[in-house]
Symmetry: none
Subunit: 205 residues, 4 copies
């Protein structure tokens, strides 16, 4: 899994391997049983370590959730950067946002599912401010990209706080429905429709 490998790249070796194992086990447990119903015991059994060791590495259940959450955020952000780097015109940028979102969710459905359920928990916890700061920074970054000369003209003058909802709203809504089984078809099937809808919502035309 590309996402959690990030960890390994930064801190290779046995220790990172263990942390990776714990994170993967936690991910599967959290998605299977939910955040609250998952016990440290379950995670311990799944990755064959000790309770104490999990606490040694993550401090608390909350800390484990936060670590996994930021791991997902980072991975998702990397994909966006890659897509955005290949885009030039405004519409390509909007597509990059939608495509990277859809592609990441379909590539990492487990992480995506986890992200949806963990956001509220992390936001309320001690890392809440860090999360909020990262969100603001990401939004600023995107809005700046879209308002570069040569792109700005193609886009409606819309409030900055509204823009992300117009672009990513439909994709997110569909992805949520897909991850919870309310719809069948993969979001990937509707990549273009979702990107087009986003473009129509914000384009100056």
């Amino acid at each position: 899994m590309a996402t959690i490998d990030v960890l390994e790249r930064n801190h290779p070796g046995k220790r990172a391997q263990l942390k990776r194992d714990i994170l993967l086990s936690a991910l599967s447990c959290f998605n299977e049983h939910g955040l609250e119903l998952t016990t440290i015991e379950m995670i311990k059994v799944q990755c064959d370590t000790s309770v104490g060791n999990i606490y040694h590495h993550f401090g608390s259940k909350e800390g484990l959730i936060a670590a996994l959450f930021f791991c997902a955020q980072q991975d998702q952000a990397q994909l966006l950067e890659a897509y955005l780097a290949a885009a030039t015109q405004a519409q390509e940028g909007v597509s990059a946002l939608v495509y990277s979102y859809v592609d990441w969710v379909t590539a990492e459905p487990e992480l995506a599912r986890f992200q949806f359920q963990a956001r509220a928990s992390v936001a309320k916890g001690p890392q809440g401010e860090e999360l909020a700061a990262r969100n603001r920074a990401r939004n600023r970054h995107i809005l700046k990209w879209l308002s570069e000369p040569g792109r700005k003209a193609g886009i409606q003058k819309l409030p900055g706080e509204l823009m992300p909802s117009l672009i990513i709203g439909p994709a997110e809504n569909y992805c949520r429905a897909w991850l919870s089984g309310r719809v069948q078809a993969s979001p990937k099937k509707y990549r273009e429709e979702l990107a087009l809808a986003a473009w129509r919502a914000v384009s100056a035309g």
Copy 2:
């Protein structure tokens, strides 16, 4: 609060009044502390009744959550019906969907906040199938309205499972952001932008 008064209309009298009190207390507790961290004890204290009494009326904590959730669903559905009844053309229907959504969330922010956090819980619980059925029925109802002769033509041929996301996605995304404090301006301020974006996303034009 118009929403929970629904209950009272159906079962007037002291008993309904008590149920209403319990539901209101539960709502405020669930939103303040989250579903899992809210204890029956907290709710009891807030509405000044007894633990046993809450169980007498709702059977279990899960039952209380479900009752509150369906209460919100019903209220939201009523507003949609009212708006849809006043619409004729396709674009008016799309606006009715967006407006009723935005207006309900801003009129009942507490219920809306609760609905977001409780959906997963109810979906996994014993009422999960009922919830799924209601969702399917609602979507069918909306799609049918939009595909009546004289409306169908104005709308792109799009998969039924994708349509709701295109229409409500941006509004929902913005409302979530508003309820969790990530944006400042009330969704009501952007009603028209959100409705227009929805219309552009699905209109045949």
Copy 3:
């Protein structure tokens, strides 16, 4: 046991009976194993109730310790009052202090043993300030009694903070030694010697 019956006198009935049972079990466990090594489980087994019930009545292990501690304080204070009420002259007052101390420790050795080991814990806990206030009040009360006209003359001019140590020090030291098995003879055997030593230490003669 006279001490804990105080509770029963104030709140008669089943509930008080239960609290009494829990306190008695706790006392025996704390003395047998020490404060930290005693588990709520042990206490539960000994008084045949449930873990939850102990928490229902005392809130926490710390709360149980504090309740027991103040129970002992109160009982000890009552005996002192009774003895002091029967004294007239200064020397009789000093004897009342020493005798009531010795008699209480020998009548309630378990409570006394507990008191010695729990004082530090209570002093550091949330009830610490209350304990300090009670101690100050008690000392003030005793010093006032001893400085009434007709008594003051028989006693050396000594700092108020030193007086209690001179009077009760030897008795306390011997009682500690007795409770921990370092000496064999009951403090009661040396009542008079201890009272006389106290009197010599403070008397003007």
Copy 4:
């Protein structure tokens, strides 16, 4: 700190230096948080060594407590010997006991505080018998000194087990109060009053 330097005198060099560091860190942690709440981890952080190293030198937490305790005992005993060596008459001996006690507590308040809280722990542990034996030997030694010809006559015929309480009781009681903040003035301020009280308590006059 004179006390712990004893160790260094016996085993000079790096190793002793490390043991000394660990003991000092342990002392400060035990006094700040209490015996049970102090973790090996805390001590490790304070003296900047490793968990394993502490175990290498002291075997167990209990062993560390005992080592520190006996360290304090030994230091206190040395001061007593020095004071006693300078005394000739009975009253001088009693004063030596009180002065050496008061002077040691005020010179090493941290060690004294620790001694009070650790005594019960050591007495119950594997070194309990050794502690009891040392206590008995010390008492025998003191009583023997006081009953040498030329001294015996000045002192009341009192039970051997009562004597130490009469002499040291007031001083100990005041020192405890001082160490726990219940009184303000240093015990040193009342050295003479305490010594005089002790002498009056036991003198034949």
